[in-house]
């Protein structure tokens, strides 16, 4: 061990904290063996270090964790509202509106044929009616049938209400801030 080695408190702290390289640590160990009276300095530092590490943790107020979780839940709520979730509980409203719209459109058409004037009906003389029957499909009556008319109207009404449903969902998302 060289004579000019000075064992400072900083070196002893580095020793205690484990910051010294292996050769530096060996040098301190050797020095302490040769100068046992210096061991007390290291013991004091080790004791101080133990006091640092033994300090108790501070305890937050009771309910801190609950407050954090409540704040976290509050932060999460808008995100959930923004998700395109089907509001099944309110479907009956849409169905009621659909039925009302459908009836408003369909009922006038269903009542219209009975209110039409009878002179519009076409009377064809019998001699002009062909004697043989050609198997044809009566497209005219098909297209003018109430069944087709009502089906088309109902389909249009249903599509319109689906659009209304979509619009209400988008509006709800905007109102919730997203």
């Amino acid at each position: 061990m060289e004579n000019n080695f000075l064992l400072t408190d900083d070196i002893l702290w580095d020793y205690a904290d484990g910051f010294l390289a292996r050769d530096e640590k060996l040098r301190v160990d050797t020095y302490l063996r040769q100068h046992p009276e210096q061991q007390a300095r290291l013991d004091a530092i080790m004791s101080e270090k133990r006091a640092f590490t033994a300090m108790p943790l501070e305890k937050p107020n009771t309910g801190f964790a609950q407050n954090v979780m409540a704040a976290w839940a509050a932060e999460q709520t808008p995100s959930k509202a923004a998700a395109p979730v089907k509001t099944k509980g309110h479907d009956w409203i849409l169905w009621a509106i659909s039925v009302a719209f459908g009836l408003m459109i369909v009922v006038p058409f269903m009542l219209a044929p009975s209110a039409a004037p009878s002179e519009l009906s076409l009377q064809i003389p019998e001699e002009y009616i062909p004697q043989f029957q050609v198997p044809t499909f009566d497209w005219a009556s098909f297209f003018s049938s109430a069944l087709l008319r009502n089906t088309v109207l109902l389909t249009m009404a249903f599509m319109g209400l689906k659009l209304l449903d979509k619009y209400l969902q988008v509006r709800n998302m905007r109102l919730s801030g997203h």
């Binding site: 900083d10 702290w13 904290d17 910051f19 101080e48 270090k49 006091a51 640092f52 590490t53 033994a54 300090m55 108790p56 943790l57 501070e58 305890k59 937050p60 107020n61 801190f64 964790a65 407050n67 954090v68 979780m69 704040a71 976290w72 839940a73 932060e75």
Partner: protein, 190 residues
């Protein structure tokens, strides 16, 4: 038993949307986060606010946690930066928390702090009182190294200091703490 569940498992469960996993992480780390915040902002009420804000930030950015560092290191980094932001808001003139700009504030002889501490026959209380007189940076580095037993590398990750700076700061913080203890609370530490 929640104590047996690893941080990684809790994080995966939290990412899966399980609220109890978030709660378990808070319960596990609330005292550490609060202590670090308190050491830095020096006020219990503010420390509650900072620690809560830090947890919320941690949860918000949990999907970005890649597990390269320990969860505790990552969390303390958030607590540390949240505390710094809080202190900067409190005092916008603060640009950094360098030791030179924030010299050690030693309580006057006979001040309420000193006399109160002198009445305590408790080594820990005296040390904690002494730490309260350190600058925020010094208190944080002492807490992280000695109390949380983080390595210098981990402290560098938390504080963004270089290894040399972290070691120098730790050494200075310890010297300042020792000076405070010796000048004000020596009787408790004998």
């Amino acid at each position: 038993m929640s104590a047996a569940i690893s941080d990684e498992t809790l994080i995966q469960q939290a990412l899966g949307g399980r609220q109890t996993a978030f709660a378990a992480l808070v319960n596990r780390y609330e005292r550490y986060a609060f202590t670090l915040a308190l050491r830095m902002v020096k006020n219990r009420e503010d420390a509650h606010e900072v620690a809560q804000d830090a947890f919320l930030r941690a949860f918000r950015y949990l999907p970005d946690f890649r597990g390269e560092a320990k969860f505790s290191t990552w969390l303390y980094k958030i607590v540390y930066s949240t505390s710094l932001n809080f202190l900067r808001k409190q005092n916008p003139d603060i640009q950094s928390l360098d030791d030179e700009k924030h010299p050690v504030r030693v309580a006057d002889e006979g001040s309420p702090d000193a006399s109160h501490a002198m009445e305590q026959n408790d080594r820990n209380v005296a040390l904690q009182s002494a730490i309260a007189h350190l600058s925020s940076d010094d208190a944080a580095i002492i807490t992280l190294f000695y109390l949380y037993e983080h390595s210098l590398d981990e402290i560098c990750q938390i504080t963004n200091l270089t290894l040399t700076n972290a070691k120098t700061k730790l050494c200075r913080a310890r010297q300042r703490l020792k000076a405070i203890v010796e000048s004000k609370f020596a009787t408790e530490l004998v």
